[in-house]
Subunit: 284 residues, 2 copies
């Protein structure tokens, strides 16, 4: 299984703290060794850094640790390949442009082939189930906004609704934990495992689960700061909220603003290597 990480922040935030612990999982404290990637939004722009090397020995990851970027929306991924080789084009996050916005997507799970993809301009470059699922969602969004002239992608509730319907369609194909952002909102779906924590003022210290680094947020935060951190499993010793399978969440400016339930088919839960009681549980 892969590892997902997403951040939604009220203010542009230096994200090196969370990435330090996250990158250690790419081969050092865990076995996600088939590449990694991170996408940072800087207002409308989105920069994606990917590498097919394990994150803990990747020169690009090392560079990013020394060159922190301030961002309000971040999507990151460490890959343990289930489908598609360890090649750059198969590294998440994937990015596509739609109606003047950059969209990024990262997936944790394993999907059966979708068959012929739906009509639309979005098609995968690589060979992963994940990029195929992302293109499916993007084609749904494209079709929706092409036929509903009264709304646009800035209407995040409309976007949420399209993603909810697409998730319902894709769910039977397998395990489908994902994070998706358009730079203004973070959408996150828990198929089997996902957790999040909201950090807000007054900040307390947090210890990284995967490293020796402790950062005291109280020293740095202001009342205007608020950050939601979404990850496959908790990254710190803070109190994380464990999502339930089927939770579809939307975060904006560090706050949870929308929620829906998209049931995970029983046969998909049965294929998970995790027992139902373990699903989304915080690891000991």
């Amino acid at each position: 299984m892969c590892q997902l990480l997403a951040l939604s922040c009220a203010e542009p935030t230096d994200v090196s703290f969370s990435l330090t612990g996250f990158a250690a999982r790419g081969g050092l404290t865990d076995h996600h060794v088939d590449g990694w990637g991170v996408a940072f939004y800087e207002d409308r722009a989105c920069r994606v850094f990917v590498d097919e090397k394990p994150a803990y020995q990747s020169p690009v990851a090392e560079f990013l640790r020394s060159y922190p970027i301030k961002s309000r929306n971040v999507v990151a991924h460490i890959r343990k390949a289930t489908q598609g080789g360890a090649r750059v084009e198969n590294c998440h996050p994937f990015m596509r442009a739609l109606r003047g916005q950059q969209w990024v997507f990262a997936h944790n799970g394993d999907l059966q082939p979708l068959g012929e993809s739906e009509q639309g301009p979005y098609a995968p470059v690589g060979t992963t189930d994940s990029e195929a699922a992302f293109c499916f969602i993007m084609n749904r969004l494209y079709a929706h906004f092409a036929t509903h002239a009264d709304t646009d992608v800035d209407d995040v509730d409309a976007v949420f609704h399209v993603i909810e319907q697409a998730t319902r369609t894709l769910n039977p194909y397998g395990i489908f934990n994902f994070v998706l952002s358009n730079g203004t909102a973070q959408f996150a779906y828990c198929s089997t495992r996902l957790s999040y924590v909201i950090r807000h003022w007054p900040f307390s210290s947090a210890r990284l689960v995967d490293g020796d680094l402790t950062v005291d947020f109280a020293e740095r935060g202001t009342p205007a700061d608020r950050t939601a951190v979404i990850a496959t499993t908790p990254l710190t010793d803070e109190v994380w909220t464990t999502c339930k399978p089927g939770d579809l969440l939307m975060f904006r400016s560090g706050a949870l603003v929308q929620r829906a339930h998209v049931p995970v088919p029983a046969e998909v839960l049965a294929t998970s290597k995790y027992a139902p009681s373990e699903l989304s549980a915080v690891p000991a």
Copy 2:
């Protein structure tokens, strides 16, 4: 004016030599200080690195100098803003996906507003004339391959023909030197200034125009190596070919394989700050 650089190589090539001289132009030996970017193809994947800082003081450029990527197709750009602020979303090269390929584009020149863009899925994220022109070309390519089921983007002659027609349409809007790649071919258009050199075995040494570095290609090349370097102005003391205004060229595997003439309107040439005799001339 901005600076363009593109490489088309028969074998995956470490491109740090050409980038060293090129990056020096971003603020050190020239005044292109509003950001830069480079796109490297690694087979189907394309990694884009952009920075709104001048290239000569950019940490991302410094990182790339110490972490050379081997690539067969490269597109790079140093920006002197004419339209759109010094923001990441306005940095070239721009990238879009079409039919399972990543496409990148960089522009040197200045275009009048295109007005309402043609119908199609591609729309700009930033505010430059250049990204608008790129989206225009991508919408033309999308429409062509959506309605010509007998051909696909692997047919580079069909792609060349669509680009030729789009260039004819865009030409009256202003100065439109560009390089465009889909990872298998390099398309280059000379509106006012563009040069190229083909390096092949046996290689001789080349001195960088913008730096003190000399690399002896004879030490490194093999008979299988061949590289076409396309740039706004010659980067080295090799013998470069000066393009004529109106030249549309296609390079593959380091060779010039296709050429067409798309006339530049006289009124556009008249707006150029270069006298006709200086157009595309190798600088003294």
